[in-house]
């Protein structure tokens, strides 16, 4: 509540443009007019606050949180990292939501008709909150790649979708991260909506052998950066 500075402008060159014909669905869903650039008002510099009490104990354990009592099938992994803003400050107590396909590449969603079977013990939905240093972690199984209708049967690399709120509505971000070494990353039309190779690299989780759970789960590290807040050098001017 004490912070009042504006957020640093979004570097749109780091994000995919709206119109990316290699990803066909974007063609009819991309605005043609330029975005209207505006400073942020008090409403945009605020955002929803979620209480830690909303989390259930297994919300960050996708291996067990479907609630059947059984465990999901697949390569067991822990995903962890930090959420910082562009100024390097930890983003504290912010909600992270994740969703993903099962080990066979199938989503538990009404509209997913992929022939791979559902895993009776896997829902694919999780959430957690960052701590005071901006750290987060969750446990899951590595999702499988899956085919989709784009350029014939294109294949998505293994990926986990994630959603963050930050402290302000203008920090809102939904994206996807990938796994180091996956040969499908370079061929993915959705990854390649991002023009800058360095920005694409920023979506790849790194194998983190040191943080493995021995004889249990591999670990991947994935750090997330949200927009930074400018300092207010001259207030009330």
């Amino acid at each position: 509540m004490t912070e009042t500075g504006d957020f640093i402008r979004r570097d749109r060159g780091r994000h995919p443009p709206a119109f990316t014909p290699g990803y066909k669905t974007s063609v009819l869903r991309s605005p043609k007019c330029a975005l209207v650039s505006l400073e942020q008002g008090p409403g945009e510099k605020a955002g929803p606050v979620f209480p830690r009490s909303m989390l259930a104990p297994l919300d960050n354990d996708l291996i067990r949180n479907f609630g059947t009592g059984g465990e999901a099938i697949g390569e067991r992994i822990v995903v962890h990292g930090r959420v910082l803003d562009e100024c390097g400050r930890p983003v504290r107590n912010t909600l992270i939501e994740v969703w993903q396909a099962n080990a066979g590449g199938r989503y538990r969603h009404k509209n997913d008709g992929y022939l791979a079977p559902l895993d009776p013990n896997f829902g694919g939905s999780g959430r957690c909150m960052t701590d005071d240093e901006g750290r987060y972690f969750f446990r899951t199984i590595r999702p499988g790649p899956y085919p989709w209708r784009n350029n014939g049967s294109d294949w998505r690399p293994a990926h986990i979708h994630f959603s963050l709120f930050g402290e302000a509505f203008v920090q809102r971000l939904i994206s996807q991260f990938y796994f180091e070494g996956d040969p499908l990353i370079a061929k993915c039309p959705i990854v390649n909506t991002i023009p800058d190779p360095a920005a694409r690299e920023a979506l790849i989780a790194r194998l983190d052998l040191a943080q493995q759970m021995p004889f249990d789960a591999l670990a991947y590290r994935f750090d997330i950066v949200l927009r930074g807040r400018r300092q207010t050098f001259f207030e009330n001017l």
Partner: protein
């Protein structure tokens, strides 16, 4: 060398299965505790109870049936983070029709950065398959025409004719004041989207 900052993580589309992580019950998963839903206001929430409804339309005039719409607003006195009213809601487009709706209260006016009043409005984000980075817009209320005419954000839209794309008409549906907000991603009446 200029000072180095970290760089924002790039956006990717929410995809067609965005509901699994954000509104699991819509995807067909069990309801979890304290789900964020499209009903923001309870019977005791101060302010005028209203409904906001609409469809996100693609460039061929077809509804975007996998859209996730997020709403962020002030309470009826124009304040954020009021006790008992989070001001945040989520709605999923209907998979058959693309219709989405919120039940909330009409927000009050809150000041712009220079102290001028803003007309009552709600902020809206749109996520969907094929939308690479979410779209940010605002909905204003047609029955606030005097305030709308002075609103600093509406007035900053250079193409005067486009301002109307952000103003929702007031009707009544089942006795509830209802604002219809159709969002057009392309075409002659393309909705104004912001970079803020």
């Amino acid at each position: 060398m200029p000072v180095e900052y970290l760089k924002e993580t790039p956006s990717q589309t929410g995809g067609p299965y965005v509901h699994i992580g954000t509104m699991p019950a819509v995807a067909g998963l069990p309801v979890r505790s304290q789900e964020t839903l499209s009903v923001l206001a309870g019977a005791t929430t101060p302010g005028e109870r209203i409904r906001i409804e609409g469809v996100v339309w693609d460039g061929s005039g077809h509804p975007v049936k996998d859209a996730l719409v997020e709403l962020w607003q002030a309470d009826s006195t124009g304040s954020h983070h009021a006790e008992g009213f989070s001001g945040f809601g989520r709605a999923a487009a209907d998979f058959a029709t693309g219709e989405w709706s919120f039940e909330t209260v009409k927000p009050g006016s809150l000041p712009w950065r220079d102290g001028r009043p803003q007309a009552p409005h709600v902020s809206i984000l749109i996520f969907a398959r094929g939308i690479n980075i979410h779209l940010h817009t605002r909905m204003y209320f047609a029955d606030e025409s005097a305030a709308n005419a002075e609103d600093p954000v509406l007035r900053s839209i250079e193409q005067v004719g486009r301002r109307a794309t952000l103003v929702a008409e007031r009707t009544r549906k089942n006795g509830v004041p209802t604002y219809r907000f159709d969002i057009r991603l392309q075409g002659d009446a393309e909705t104004v989207f912001f970079d803020m």
